[in-house]
């Protein structure tokens, strides 16, 4: 390669550098739009769910514990009457509660039981059972930091899946239901 030819290739170097930079920016922009930085993967997935023993919303004298739920998979849906996004999620839960094929347990997070009862009466109750965590101390062990959050817990009490933010028909069809079906088939 002679000097002149090398020089003429060299003059494209700035353009090349610019193109690489543009590529970085475009990927960054697209990534930012398709990912919500709020949705952090839970370190609890495929680990045993933390022990809990919480009063039932409708029969506060009785409680439900992790041990009493062992034996079959269930969904634990963290919600609260003060939680705005839970209102968005609510119709989806109403529509899917009987389609999941496993019990849907409501986890009333940092909420007054009376407020939660009123909220469920006003909008309808999608849950097969509701437990209340008024102080939010148990929720710390679940790593809850914003409602709504949904956990799929298997028959051995192991967390198989977690979704942060409202469940949508797309999320259920793409992520959640296949995981439930796999558990139902006896797989892991």
């Amino acid at each position: 390669m002679n000097e002149v030819a090398r020089k003429s290739i060299g003059r494209f170097v700035p353009l090349l550098v610019f193109a690489v930079l543009v590529a970085f920016f475009v990927v960054g922009l697209i990534w930012n739009q398709s990912h919500d930085a709020r949705f952090v993967p839970s370190p609890l997935i495929n680990k045993p769910a933390p022990a809990f023993n919480l009063p039932r919303l409708k029969q506060p004298a009785t409680s439900i514990s992790k041990a009493s739920m062992l034996g079959k998979p269930y969904l634990l849906n963290v919600f609260a009457s003060w939680c705005f996004a839970c209102g968005d999620e609510h119709p989806v839960l109403m529509a899917y509660r009987d389609k999941f094929g496993i019990p849907l347990i409501g986890y009333d997070y940092k909420d007054k039981p009376a407020d939660a009862r009123a909220w469920l009466e006003r909008h309808g109750d999608p849950y097969h059972e509701v437990i209340t965590d008024e102080s939010g101390v148990t929720a710390l062990d679940f790593g809850v930091y914003g409602a709504p959050e949904t956990y799929l817990i298997d028959a051995q009490g192991i967390i198989r899946y977690k979704h942060i933010g409202p469940l949508t028909p797309e999320v259920i069809a793409k992520d959640l239901q296949p995981k439930i079906d796999a558990l139902q088939r006896g797989g892991t």
Binding site: E3, V40, S42, P43, L44, F142, G143, Y145, G146
Partner: protein
């Protein structure tokens, strides 16, 4: 210079003072304990309001975690034990100082790598420029 140092020191002290007053008062037993608490919580992310530290945030979530951290300090737990407790629940995302892991290699070594590549380019360009003038006059027909 002395005056500048004094102003800087005052500004520095005030940033801490504002934090100390902004948040719920916790019954610290000593100033050292309070400083340790402030240092620890300033290194932790408030998961709800992600651009704020646990120390600075006024979110309910941050208040509850501050209380938890305070209680664990009272139980005699080390900073590392407290951080491990948090990471087990909220992942390493809660740490502002990311640990070295496969997922953070680009973060740790990306900048030095880019710097080295840049330095390499500069050295090559400078060497070329230092060539005998003869080759340059030869290409005087170039338009740049």
């Amino acid at each position: 210079m002395k005056r500048f140092a004094a102003i800087a020191l005052l500004a520095f002290a005030l940033t801490f003072a504002s934090h100390a007053f902004a948040i719920d008062p916790l019954p610290f037993q000593s100033n050292a304990e309070r400083l340790r608490f402030q240092h620890l919580t300033s290194e932790l992310r408030c998961m709800v309001c992600q651009d704020e530290s646990l120390l600075a945030s006024n979110a309910d979530f941050a208040k509850q975690l501050r209380r938890q951290i305070f209680d664990q300090m009272q139980q005699g737990k080390s900073d590392k034990e407290i951080k491990d407790w948090l990471v087990a629940r909220y992942s390493t995302f809660i740490l502002y100082d990311p640990p070295l892991a496969t997922s953070t290699i680009a973060l740790w070594f990306g900048t030095p790598a880019i710097f080295l590549i840049g330095a390499g380019v500069v050295i090559v360009l400078l060497r070329r420029r230092a060539r005998p003038a003869a080759t340059i006059t030869e290409e005087s027909g170039e338009d740049w």
